[in-house]
Amino acid sequence: MSNHTQPMNDLKLDETSACINHSEKKESVFSLLKYALIGMLFGIVFVKAEIISWFRIQEMFLLQSFHMYGVIGTAVTVGIISVAIIKKYNIKTIQGEKIIIVPKTFTKGQIYGSLLFGLGWAMTGTCPGPIFAQIGSGLMSGFFILASALFGTWTYGFFQEKLPH
């Protein structure tokens, strides 16, 4: 639990709410397989609903199709209802822990970074989940996009302290 022991000022710059592991329990490799199972279901949906298609992303940004808006809109609606139910009834994890969702803190980096990501999303037709689905479905381009995205993330890490946040 590295992030819980970090001083607060560190946490601000090193804001990692999207990747903090909240569970205090160590999980075995066998136990981790349940995440792979949920990932599998996600991968099937990515392909079957054509979410990993470059064409669907272009149609979305050209307002030529409702499909992607329908997918994202439904997902957010179901997500909002689910999180509200979890909070209202204080639902615990299957290990009996209290469910914690760390609030997102705002930085100006979210504006700059999100705009840059939006440009890349429309160019590649891909965001970080679908990259892996493209590789799984045998599209060679997925490897090139993944390698470039890793280099992008690495470059961000290299310049992080010099960038405006």
Partner: protein, 191 residues
């Protein structure tokens, strides 16, 4: 049984996909107190493979192994769907988009990505290189700078009613609109 498998082979409607993706949010919370977010994996892979003594990559990425298992699952799921749950029909594309693309020399509508732009061969064309390499770089750089992507901000963040995620989502869409409508038509001319 045969009919069930045949009905799975046609493209799935948006409400089925949206509902399944939305349910991943509570599923991850309930099975292990995990928040949905996929771009972090790019950071974990960097931390595991190329940390280069950079502060941003100095953390115990092994705590985040669950998320790497999650993406391995995505790859397996995509493999299964492509090889066992797909028919060979070309994907249906808006006619306006189709004619615009044909004029720009993009004629492969058989796959999820057009081969003229996204393939090994197209890597040596100017437009293919820009789309895959520059585009991929912007995805990796931008998501980390924004501290989340479509899953972490647009789905997980909005599900938890976080206004910074709403700002991020609006900027994702704005960037996409600018690229597709104003910049991409220019890039696609460089065959």
């Amino acid at each position: 049984m045969f009919e069930i498998i045949e009905s799975l082979k046609v493209p799935w409607p948006w409400y089925v996909a949206g509902a399944v993706i939305g349910l991943i949010v509570p599923a991850l919370l309930i099975i292990g107190n995990k928040t949905f977010g996929l771009s972090s994996n790019l950071r974990h892979i960097c931390a595991a493979c190329f940390p280069a003594n950079i502060k941003f990559f100095k953390y115990n990425w092994k705590n985040e192994l669950w998320n790497l298992f999650f993406v391995v699952g995505i790859m397996i799921g995509a493999f299964i769907a492509t090889h066992y749950l797909s028919n060979s029909n070309a994907i249906i594309i808006n006619e306006n988009l189709k004619s615009t693309l044909i004029n720009l020399g993009v004629t492969d509508f058989q796959h999820l990505m057009p081969a003229e732009l996204f393939s090994f061969n197209s890597l040596s064309s100017i437009r293919g290189f820009i789309l895959m390499v520059v585009g991929g770089f912007l995805v990796g750089f931008g998501t980390r700078y924004a501290n989340g992507c479509t899953s972490g901000h647009a789905i997980m963040g909005l599900s938890n009613l976080q206004w910074p995620s709403l700002v991020a989502t609006i900027c994702f869409m704005l960037g996409g609109f600018i690229m597709t409508n104003f910049i991409l038509p220019f890039i696609l001319q460089f065959n």
